[in-house]
């Protein structure tokens, strides 16, 4: 299947509907008899709610109902999916996350009341007449303030603002290595808080059939089965067979649509209360105040080196912002998705990391594209660069000297992970060549003549994807397994429907997964349909995040296909009057090698459903198989990014002159799609490095609460990219794939900042935090000149 199989840049199936505006996103749905929900949110970061007077709102035109937390007394809090333990063995603080505020609001945007009305504008108008008597309290916004004694508590029942105080690694060995080191490099840095901003705002529609007791939630989710599990079991007390969760076309997620949100609960519960469908769609201002934010770490990192620039030890201490409540996967992001990545591509013998997770009066923070791994990569690749500069070493050479070597795999890191395969020098070499690293000096000289400062920066990243082996994550505090499921249904005339628990919200699974099926079954690409996003159609699923879909979901499909082929061989043996052991399956044909006997895949499918000549005594009719696949290990994509910038010292403006990415994603199914994933990730990473930054004032007001205030990367802000791959195959899944969704966002921020600092080194600037806005760069240059 050369032109539609594995390795082909097949044009996407899903695009035919999307380019015609025929996609079906949640907000495109309108159910007969639906009412519209408007959610009144807190304007204060921290306040006691003395009273809520809804009488005027209830009398509003078109108003159907008004609810506050008192009406939802039977509804549980929003659960957290991961429990982290502190160094002393105690479980993390896990305060209740109510659906609607109970006596207190804890961030701007915290839901307080819900109005249902015949139209959206009527609901909004009525909400304006709700009178909430707030007693405004001091807000705690800055993490460093939040952890001091006597700081205002976000949660009275927790007492402090520390959720957990976690550590990983051998502290004693690290301290000893530092005390004996030839050189120690130190860096304080901030990983800026980001707002994910998928262009489709979240939307949720609840529906209830009182005759059957069946609830349905249509929602913008990356993992509908997870939402069904969390909301059904922990919040509303609905069994799975009475709750369908449907996530149709979803307009981007980047992590922000993994989590279980209050609005999903509100519309589902309210539909049962008023016995009508209830629809809520966020406007963008609500997205800024209610979608989980990302990153937000404050870190000190130190690297110990010997006289040859070999890394001896790494030590890191981080404050990680949780926001006001624990979002679904928030606790694992700064710990098991961060601390475990600190070896990077290097054979650093000992590493110690400690993370304090902190409650503040801000929107909850959770996984955003990369989730913990960008934070780890940023601090590591920044301190490696500082060390190179301290030691007078070339940026590429210090990395090369410390890389784990190809013959050292499988490689046990000092921070728990076992890397299966990789060849880091191959990616570095390819990226340096593409970037003409050797010719940088002449380009720098040309920039100098034009009055510009030119710099080059390298980042060599690793990520852990294919999340994740269930027994491992279970031992680390995950409250769910992280396998994936697939059903491959061969229809009677030979077409194939694949029901996958992975969810596509831009990744192109309908194409990539069909390529895998086409290759494995030797059948026409157009006769394969990939079905996702509906708990009524799909056996089960854990969804899409952590670059896991092809490695975990794809493997579940392959395993189901293997079962189909095994059964097909039995059927073929019967039809060809030979033994099963004599049958081989190749290019869509069941053949007896060395003979002219064969049966096409379609003939076997038909025989399975019209079993006139069929071994009915030994074999059931039909041809449909399900597989659940639990990964044996994480996968470890890795690569090197080289960024070159030109800085205008008069304005502080940074222009990205070129950006070269070389990634090892293992086997690539569709190069066109993979390149697209890298492009998108790079721009999110460049956005973090240059433009994006969530900003709160001291009172906890969100200053960056719209596209007027939060700088999203636009087309003219970024260049075109050169992207390329090297390949070492993943050793523990049958496709040899590693995953590609997050790499761009992980590797690019340190590449950009290293490049800028390289450019600014000639004017004496040695440190700069993201985002490197023109003002910040200009100020750094002026400050360096003044000192």
């Amino acid at each position: 299947m050369g032109d539609t199989g594995i390795g082909a840049s097949v044009r996407r199936k899903e695009d035919l509907r999307f380019v015609q505006g025929a996609g079906k996103y949640t907000d495109d749905m309108n159910l007969a008899g639906q009412v519209h929900a408007y959610i009144l949110r807190s304007p204060h970061a921290h306040a006691a709610v003395r009273s809520i007077d809804t009488s005027a709102a209830r009398a509003g035109e078109g108003v159907v109902a008004v609810f506050t937390s008192e009406d939802m007394a039977e509804v549980g809090g929003i659960p957290c999916g991961w429990q982290v333990h502190s160094k002393d063995g105690s479980a993390m603080a896990e305060p209740k996350h109510p659906v609607l505020a109970e006596g207190k609001v804890r961030h701007v945007g915290d839901p307080v009341a819900v109005v249902l009305a015949e139209s959206r504008t009527q609901a909004r108008d009525a909400a304006e007449s709700i009178i909430v008597d707030y007693d405004v309290l001091d807000a705690v916004v800055d993490m460093q303030v939040a952890v001091t004694d006597g700081a205002t508590s976000v949660h009275d029942d927790v007492g402090t603002n520390i959720c957990y105080d976690w550590g990983l690694g051998d502290k004693e060995a690290v301290d000893e290595a530092f005390s004996n080191a030839h050189h120690v490099s130190t860096l304080d840095l901030v990983n800026n808080r980001l707002i994910p901003n998928a262009i489709e705002p979240r939307c949720a529609i609840g529906d209830y059939d009182h005759a059957t007791g069946q609830f349905t939630l249509h929602t913008t989710s990356q993992n509908p089965h997870v939402i069904r599990l969390l909301m059904g079991a922990f919040v509303l007390g609905l069994p799975e067979h009475k709750l369908r969760v449907h996530a149709p076309d979803v307009g981007g997620g980047f992590g922000s649509k993994i989590f279980h949100y209050a609005e999903e609960i509100i519309v589902t519960w309210a539909a049962g209360q008023v016995n009508r469908p209830v629809k809520w769609t966020a406007d963008r201002s609500e997205s800024f105040q209610s979608d989980a934010h990302g990153r937000d770490h404050v870190t000190t990192v130190e690297l110990a080196l010997d006289e040859n620039g070999k890394f001896l030890a790494l030590r890191e201490s981080t404050l990680a912002n949780m926001g006001a409540y624990l979002s679904t996967f928030a606790p694992c992001v700064p710990t098991y998705l961060h601390g475990t990545l600190l070896a990077g591509q290097y054979s650093t013998p000992v590493i110690y990391c400690e993370v304090k997770a902190v409650f503040t009066n801000t929107v909850p923070v959770d996984a955003y594209r990369g989730a913990g791994r960008p934070e780890a990569t940023y601090l590591l690749e920044r301190i490696v660069q500082v060390a190179a500069d301290d030691m007078g070493m070339d940026a590429a050479e210090i990395r090369r000297r410390n890389f784990i070597q190809p013959d050292e795999f499988p490689y046990q890191t000092p921070v728990a992970l076992i890397y299966d395969t990789g060849n880091y020098e191959a990616s570095l070499d390819k990226a340096l060549e593409a970037a003409d690293y050797a010719g940088f000096d002449s380009r720098k000289a040309a920039s100098q003549l034009a009055g510009k400062l030119r710099g080059i920066g390298i980042a060599s990243y690793i990520e852990a994807c294919g999340i994740a082996p269930s027994n491992v994550v279970g031992s680390l505090g995950a409250r769910a397994g992280l396998y994936e499921a697939a059903t491959v249904r061969v229809n009677p005339t030979g077409s194939v429907s694949v029901m996958t628990g992975s969810h596509s919200h831009g990744q192109g699974h309908e194409t990539t997964f069909a390529q895998v099926v086409s290759e494995k079954l030797g059948i026409d690409f157009d006769s394969i349909d990939i079905v996702h996003g509906d708990t009524d159609k799909i056996p089960f699923g854990m969804g899409t995040y952590g670059s896991r879909s092809i490695a975990v979901g794809g493997t579940a499909i392959v395993n189901a296909i293997d079962k189909i082929v095994a059964k097909g061989k039995k059927i073929a043996a019967h039809l060809l009057e030979t033994s099963e052991a004599d049958i081989e399956f190749e290019n869509g044909q069941f053949v007896v090698p060395g003979t002219d006997k064969s049966k096409a895949f379609g003939e076997i499918a038909l025989a399975a459903y019209v079993p006139h000549q069929y071994p009915l005594e030994e074999l059931e009719p039909g041809l449909e198989e399900t597989a659940f696949y639990d990964p044996k290990n994480f996968t470890f994509p890795a690569g090197t990014y080289v960024c070159e910038v030109e800085v205008d010292p008069d304005t502080g403006t940074v222009d990205i002159a070129s950006f070269h990415a070389t990634d090892d994603f293992g086997v690539v199914i569709n190069p066109m799609i993979v390149e697209g994933q890298v492009h998108g990730g790079l721009v999110q990473g460049i956005g973090q490095a240059l433009l994006e930054g969530c900003s709160y004032d001291d009172a906890g007001q969100l200053l960056s609460g719209s596209y007027m205030d939060y700088t999203m990367p636009r087309a003219a802000d970024v260049p075109s990219f050169t992207v390329d791959t090297t390949v070492t195959e993943c050793s523990h899944n049958p496709l040899g794939v590693k995953g590609c969704g997050e790499a761009g966002a992980i590797g690019s921020p340190p590449a950009v900042i290293n490049a800028i600092l390289n450019a600014l080194s000639e004017v004496g600037v040695t440190n700069l935090d993201m985002p490197a806005t023109p003002h910040r760069v200009w100020q750094a240059i002026r400050d360096a000149q003044a000192s």
Partner: protein
């Protein structure tokens, strides 16, 4: 209180009684069930709602339906003829100029207006033209390629 608005949408005459504050985008999405035009923000920044009004690209979240009374409106649904994609739609498909597809209708409608005023735009001209269209998935790389390829295909028609 309501007002009557009448316009030609994708070649069809339509008329409806609407609340005077109804935005053109809501008129198209809710009243006309043309859900290909999307809403991605509330400050007229994202461009997911771009349609053509009397041949020019307009953010339909920035215009009242009543202001489009008597106008000729084209949405993404009006581009393909008898199931055959417009060259710009085909260019987006061939060049992987979309991922989640949410910004895509606005991107394509905006791109067509660019080609109307500049039939052979450079990469930089495309990037600057897209000042009012946000995409979070593609990093713009393949959108720029798509628009240049679409412009080329339209020159050849």
């Amino acid at each position: 209180m309501s007002v009557t608005v009448s316009m030609i949408v994708n070649g069809n005459s339509v008329s409806a009684e609407v609340d005077p504050r109804t935005l053109l985008v809501d008129f198209l999405r809710v009243d006309q069930r043309l859900t290909g035009t999307h809403v991605g923000c509330d400050t007229s920044q994202c461009g997911a709602c771009v349609v053509h009004v009397n041949g020019k690209s307009v953010k339909s979240c920035t215009m009242l339906a009543a202001q489009a009374d008597g106008a000729e409106v084209t949405t993404i649904e009006g581009l393909a003829i008898d199931g055959e994609l417009h060259p710009m739609q085909e260019a987006f498909r061939q060049n992987h100029g979309l991922q989640c597809g949410f910004c895509t209708p606005g991107m394509i409608m905006s791109a067509l207006d660019l080609v109307n005023v500049n039939s052979n735009p450079s990469e930089q001209e495309v990037r600057e033209w897209l000042e009012g269209n946000l995409c979070r998935c593609t990093g713009y790389h393949n959108i720029v390629k798509s628009i240049q390829a679409g412009a080329e295909a339209m020159r050849e028609v």
